[in-house]
Symmetry: C2
Subunit: 577 residues, 2 copies
């Protein structure tokens, strides 16, 4: 039974009631190499090659052709899958060549007709996911020793160049026509949507005035100037191309920190998922979709059993090992709800199970951080929690008797906009239960850093060193509601008498507010303090892009996105804002 068999509706089916008539499929983020339509994976010892060869007739949504290696969400879902599998299934891979299977074109970026025809939320979610995938490529380079090399064997424009920018090293073929470009502004009246502006200056250190010139030249820049301006690392004549790419990939592989060679990977077996209009469920994660209240009630279950004794046991369990399994499920659920359930504006987060077992799994992984698999699992959990931080939904954590908000699962409460911990128990329902507790664990103290470079705990206590110290001191100790509230680890700690009303009002109130204003507020409050390239991409750049996407100059009937390719020039309101 493949994962598809448990789906109640396939990706091509019509949408649920909320999106009826839009013609957008419910996006399914699960795939596997045998089903790829747009990418090929090949292996040569420590070097893997990911070849982009987009099937122009296999767009995810009808209505556009994916010409010139342009991409839509479906193309990017496969890329994301490939990047993930390389990390888990191929411990032997130390360098990854990203290249094109087309002649003279590397990648033309996001498909313009797709963008022009897409409603605003689809565009925003598409950009968010592609951004996360490119950040994942950088994360693989930095933290898995899988160093990405962009072998730009033809023109890379817009998102195509941004894909190269996510790689550690960019080689551009020197054939007198291939160039790199960011033509979004001159051609489409929007910004590059996957971090191009930020990476050009902050990662590659292109001087800002040169970057300005570059982003206004639709035809782009190739040859020596592209190297001088730091847009690419080197250009290579066509005659030496293959040889030089191979050579460079071998060099990068040789310098990689990837520790293992000759080790077997872990197969990422198809996720078991049941999806209906009212629920999503996996082995350890379940969500109830309450459309009338606009709420997704998400419950994450702790491990069913104690973890194995060591990493050999984890390898034997493979994708079934709790931390990996629950992370994959959460990852898929976040992507599913974020993309497909726009009107479920509040996610209520609960856990249930044994805190001790959660902490035992955490310990096992953290005490074997030199093990490549332990390292991969922790970084994957980190990336998945980061998705939550940039998800435009209100997150409310409810800490009740029977819950297991400890260590890695406490991160869910720390990621939430608010948390409520029941003081005592539900007297009517379960008077004999033990009160819910939370436990700060090692996982909260370093390995799962947010995009801003801080732990969620340090972010919470930003500017309050004493508060942070006091909370860290209690690590390992199960904390009842009163202590957790006094330490500032939860927002509120109502008792049984107040719980129902306080929580209900908080959730109802959230549903009464403007969804847009909530998005802006949460995007601000979730990232106090320092900024990084990553937070700049999701905060500053995405906010500007969202604004531009909403403006008639881009998306109106006479806007550039809509008029592209019609032969008519866009008509702009010339007021500067």
């Amino acid at each position: 039974m493949t994962s598809q068999a448990t789906e109640t509706r396939s990706a091509a089916d019509a949408r649920g009631p909320a999106e009826a008539g839009r013609g957008l499929p419910r996006a399914d983020f699960r795939t596997e190499p045998a089903r790829y339509k747009h990418w090929r994976l090949s292996f040569d010892g420590p070097v893997a090659t990911i070849t982009m060869d987009v099937d122009e007739n296999a767009g995810l949504v009808p209505g556009y052709e994916l010409k010139l290696n342009s991409y839509d969400l479906g193309v990017d879902i496969e890329l994301y899958d490939a990047v993930q599998r390389l990390r888990f299934e191929h411990p032997e891979v130390r360098a990854v060549v990203l290249t094109s299977g087309k002649d003279k074109i590397f990648c033309a970026g996001a498909n313009i007709r797709m963008l022009a025809a897409s409603p605003h939320p689809w565009k925003v979610n598409f950009c968010k996911f592609t951004n996360e995938t490119r950040n994942g490529i950088e994360d693989a380079t930095e933290n898995s020793g899988q160093v990405y090399l962009a072998a730009v064997n033809g023109t890379a424009s817009g998102g195509g160049y941004e894909l190269a920018l996510a790689c550690e090293h960019i080689m551009l073929i020197d054939d007198r026509s291939s160039a790199v470009s960011l033509p979004e502004l001159p051609l489409l009246a929007v910004l590059p949507g996957t971090g191009g502006l930020t990476r050009v200056t902050d990662k590659r250190h292109v001087r800002r005035d040169l970057a300005d010139h570059f982003a206004t030249k639709a035809e782009g820049i190739g040859g020596k100037k592209a190297v001088q301006w730091r847009l690419v690392d080197e250009t290579v004549p066509r005659a030496y191309w293959r040889e030089r790419v191979t050579e460079r990939a071998r060099e990068l592989a040789a310098g990689s920190s990837r520790p293992q060679a000759g080790t077997a990977g872990i197969a990422l077996a198809p996720l078991e998922k049941t999806r209906s209009d009212t629920s999503v469920s996996y082995r350890h994660v379940a969500a109830t979709l309450d459309r009338s209240r606009g709420v997704a009630e998400i419950t994450v279950s702790g491990p069913d059993a104690d973890p194995p004794d060591g990493m050999a046991g984890v390898r034997a369990q493979g994708a079934g090992f709790w931390t990996l399994a629950v992370t994959r499920e959460l990852d898929d659920l976040i992507l599913d709800l974020r993309t497909n359930e726009l009107e479920l504006g509040t996610w209520v987060l609960r856990t249930r199970g044994s805190a001790e077992r959660v902490l035992a799994c955490d310990q096992l992984l953290l005490h074997h951080q030199d093990d490549w698999l332990a390292n991969e699992i922790v970084h994957y959990l980190k990336r998945t929690l980061k998705r939550l931080d940039v998800t435009s939904r209100s997150l409310i954590a409810l800490i009740e008797p029977g819950s297991c908000f400890a260590g890695s699962l406490l991160e869910l409460a720390l990621a939430a906009d608010r948390s409520y911990q029941l003081s005592g128990v539900f007297e009517d329902a379960e008077p004999g239960a033990s009160p819910g507790e939370i436990t700060v664990g090692e996982m909260n103290l370093g390995p799962l850093r947010m995009g801003n470079g801080l732990t969620r705990l340090a972010t919470r206590f930003y500017g309050d060193a004493d508060g942070l110290t006091a909370a860290v001191k209690r690590a390992g100790e199960p904390l009842p509601a009163e202590d957790a509230e006094a330490l500032g680890l939860v927002t509120f700690a109502p008792d049984d008498i107040d719980w129902d009303e306080e929580v209900r009002i908080a959730i109802e109130e959230r549903a009464s507010f403007s969804p847009d204003a909530l998005t802006g507020m949460e995007a601000s409050y979730r990232f106090p303090g320092p900024e990084t390239m990553e937070t700049k991409i999701f905060g500053r750049l995405s906010a500007w892009q969202n604004w531009i996407f909403n403006r008639p100059n881009a998306s109106g009937p006479d806007g550039a996105l809509r008029r592209y390719g019609t032969g008519q020039r866009a008509s702009f309101d010339r007021k500067r804002v």
Copy 2:
């Protein structure tokens, strides 16, 4: 003759053709205490008090009443003037109390009917200016030793609380009803527009989940909880209010770094300005407004004469001293064009005069940084250049024979998105001229930091330490175009043959691009590298706010901003984006 006499049209006149029919006045940013309608200034030794007492019938634009000490641009123009005058005209002032002249209300923030009725660019420019004024209050506290104390003697909501947040110390009256609040999200479906979200977490270190709760409670928080949550510094019972405010102000004054006492200030005499539909001119600054090309051609002239020997001479010249005079003129011009000339999307920046004299004025100020007036002038220049950085216009600097881009004026070229330096001279027009040169001076190496905390030179060479070192090494040396280009100090250095076409194309091309996309691109490229509270406010927060302002949930006919006060609830599109 007052400054008003040279205005060709008063503030209440109709707009030029570009804005005809909008009913918005051309905003005039010049005022003086004798003309204040909304504020009172009073002095008691080292303590000044600014009392907000808004005249509800004196809004800048017809159509709304400024009830409950709410403000519009006109109110904020007076506040800006007061803050500036305290720095220059009152060296004896070491603490400033900001309070309300109304009973039970401190300030209700930006006027909602004004916001609801204003076109998008007006809202955005209004928020930008109010943000700059609040940053100026913090700058006075930090760099002038004029420490601001918010004496919140009634409810402070929205922008009213944000005004308090800009102060160093916040006192809230404890009368069982006064509270502080950020009700924008629940009541208006927008974000607090003047840095409230950022300052709550990043300046006052309110925990982010408490901040979330706070920003959803329209009625706000007062009493002990306001102190516990760090929203205010102290609450004071009504009976002790005056006494305690006076006491606190004296304490802050005693701890102030303001060096002088008993020194006379510098009168900020009315600016001489001539304004028509096609030009703006002052003594040292002039702008030609070319509506057909969408360009403002701005020329800044260097000093007419050598600077005086020392600071006594500067004091004698007062507001006539070149650096101060040119800064005031630039400040006014930026505000005028930014607010009133939305369709002039490109500002071309030129200088003319003696680079030696510019550098001599710079030296004089920098060699007397302990002098309060020298300190004020340099910080004012810094703030004015920062305005340029956040101005949503394309900035192109042209460096030609006869120009004086040196030291403080070189900052104009460094602030520009691009700069062109003519290699050689204009052979036909002035074959005997000396080629234009640029000179890096001391002013470029520290005193005029951008909002990101870096100099414009360091920002330019972000990530390129060698490039920065090479440029700094040549400080003091007049650099011809070839050298400046090789050092990376200018973008391009065309010669006479290419100049006209290259520059013309650059300007024409800029006018052909989407104004919105240019705004987003420039806002990104101008701030590579590190972020600060200030850049977060102008980058992240403003971008989200702009997006939200454009969304029907806020500004549509059924949106919250438009429906506020009608008794009808807003109707929201519930999709989360």
